[in-house]
């Protein structure tokens, strides 16, 4: 399970739309299954079918997370024409078993779909994604 705020969700959708028609990618830092920060990062491949987080930007983001005492809780990317489910390439290249992989489908641009998965040892398990409305005390 991963909790994200509605403004984080909106930031991810905006990033995916800004990078369209290429895939967008981002890292989410947080703790205890809650995202606290979104790092919208460049896709070094600038491709509609492939993404690689630009390596120096990746290192900077991960170093900052370490310095803040946050964990990498989520890895986000968009699918511009396919469903929000890990592709074969997503599974083959998944190297962060402790992170939740979030995929946003823009196949229907008016109705983006965001889903979340664990990808471990070639196995995909969907996990619950909880979207919290910011500003509501709870």
């Amino acid at each position: 399970m991963l909790r994200i705020d509605d403004d984080q969700y909106q930031a991810l959708v905006a990033h995916a739309r800004a990078e369209y028609p290429n895939e967008a990618c981002a890292l989410l830092a947080g703790r205890d299954g809650s995202a606290e920060r979104v790092y919208a990062l460049p896709n070094a491949e600038a491709s509609p079918t492939f993404y690689v987080v630009e390596p120096k930007a990746q290192l900077r983001a991960m170093t900052e997370m370490d310095d803040l005492g946050l964990d990498l809780v989520g890895i986000f990317h968009s699918h511009v024409a396919t469903e929000a489910y890990p592709s074969r390439t997503d599974v083959e290249l998944a190297a962060y078993p402790d992170a939740v992989y979030l995929i946003l489908s823009l196949a229907d641009q008016d109705a983006p779909v965001l889903r979340a998965f664990r990808i471990r040892d070639g196995r995909v398990d969907e996990v619950e994604l909880e979207r919290r409305t910011a500003g509501v005390a709870g």
Partner: protein
């Protein structure tokens, strides 16, 4: 040259859970060889069969991507910090 190597979570099974380990080498190639002597099997996760750096593994020397420093021929100095990170990559 004695350097500190930061090990990503996914490779810590090779290092007994250690996040950072010491290793020696004048170049990144030598360093990875030394690392593999200390932690057998680890280089196989980082290098391709022809001995080049795997496309989806990032190695940094003092925060600089080694692809811009001569890749495996990148020179090392005492006290350098080498970080290894699996690339964040995929596509659908």
């Amino acid at each position: 040259m004695a350097v500190e190597v930061r090990i990503p979570t996914i490779l810590r099974k090779h290092t007994g859970g250690e996040k950072a380990v010491p290793a020696d080498g004048d170049t990144v190639r030598d360093l990875l060889g030394d690392l593999d002597r200390r932690y057998p099997g680890i280089a196989g996760q980082l290098l391709t069969e022809d001995g080049s750096l795997h496309r989806f593994v990032n190695v940094y020397v003092n925060d600089e991507d080694v692809r811009f420093l001569g890749a495996l021929d990148a020179k090392l100095a005492d006290g350098d910090v080498v970080a290894i990170l699996p690339a964040v990559a995929g596509g659908g």
